[in-house]
């Protein structure tokens, strides 16, 4: 049994994609739900991040091009969030984790088990056996006929 190590997506991907709804260009502010942050469902599809802000966050345009059109509040929000994200971008794997991984790896390198051909199990289907037998019989008949013909 092998895991599908080359799978592009887990089984979750289909379901999670299904949860995505097409984006809308609706702008404006919405009332935030009063329930605690962790209990809320994310209202995906309510567009609050404009194309300009997205272009700025993607690095396609400069901040000065957004400031003139977008509220300073939105820009400041993303700048504040990006300060935290920048710290996350600098994170490195703790040294003990690398050591733990090294310790967990098997000492011997994995190798494919290669056995000589005479030790390998041969599996043949009944149809193949019948076909081979018929072939041998036909060959025998041809050889026999040619011998008798001389």
């Amino acid at each position: 049994m092998h895991d599908d190590l080359n799978a592009q997506n887990g089984p979750e991907s289909d379901r999670s994609s299904a949860r995505e709804t097409p984006g809308r260009s609706q702008r404006g502010r919405q009332e935030l739900p009063s329930s605690p942050l962790s209990d809320r469902e994310v209202p995906i599809g309510v567009a609050r991040t404009s194309d300009l802000v997205n272009a700025w966050l993607d690095g396609d345009i400069a901040e000065s091009q957004v400031m003139g059109t977008e509220s300073a509040r939105t820009v400041e929000f993303w700048k504040r969030l990006d300060r935290d994200l920048a710290v996350r971008r600098m994170m490195t794997t703790p040294a003990h984790v690398q050591q733990k991984i090294m310790d967990a790896l098997p000492e011997t390198a994995p190798s494919a088990s290669v056995s000589p051909w005479w030790e390998r199990t041969l599996s043949v289907s009944p149809i193949a056996v019948a076909a081979a037998a018929a072939g041998l019989l036909a060959l025998g008949a041809v050889v026999g006929a040619s011998v008798r013909g001389r």
Binding site: G10, E12, V42, I44, T74, V87
Partner: protein, 156 residues
């Protein structure tokens, strides 16, 4: 050597996806062991292949668990903030951002983490995930919208 070379972006991905350093460590460890055992099956780039193992490990974990909140310690990580007040603010923001990320659909969270936490380009993301740049831009934009809805009132 391979571990030292590839572990940082993979650790950031696992941490961004799970929000827990312990889980990220476990996923990273299991992924490298799996990669080591199946080295003969590598087709194409090793970094892309091992990334997919880690990404699938994160998705499997997300599938099995519904978290409300997990924060992480970064005692050995750079703070990046000058004053204790800024550090305190940041702790709260970090915690809220973790919760907001946890509320996103896995595909949106994955795209946001790859873009903003791992700092990858859309082309690189498309290459690793086997999808198009346009689809990934859409996912990142939706993730931003959702995060803005969840956090703007408190932090704007």
């Amino acid at each position: 050597m391979l571990i030292g070379r590839y572990s940082d972006p993979l650790y950031r991905h696992a941490l961004g996806m799970t929000g827990s350093p312990d889980v990220a460590e476990d996923i990273l460890q299991m992924s490298f062991i799996k990669a080591y055992q199946h080295l003969a099956e590598v087709r194409g780039r090793f970094d892309a292949w091992v990334f997919r193992i880690v990404a699938n490990g994160c998705k499997d974990w997300l599938k099995n668990i519904r978290r409300t909140h997990l924060s992480y310690d970064e005692d050995d990580q750079p703070s990046g903030y000058a004053t204790p007040e800024e550090d305190l603010d940041r702790t709260e923001l970090r915690s809220d951002l973790d919760r907001a990320l946890a509320a996103l659909a896995p595909s949106l969270r994955e795209a946001f983490v790859m873009k903003h936490v791992e700092g990858r380009s859309y082309e690189e993301m498309a290459d690793l995930l086997g999808t198009t740049v346009g689809a990934l831009k859409m996912r990142v934009h939706r993730a931003r919208e959702a995060l803005q809805v969840l956090l703007e009132e408190k932090y704007a």
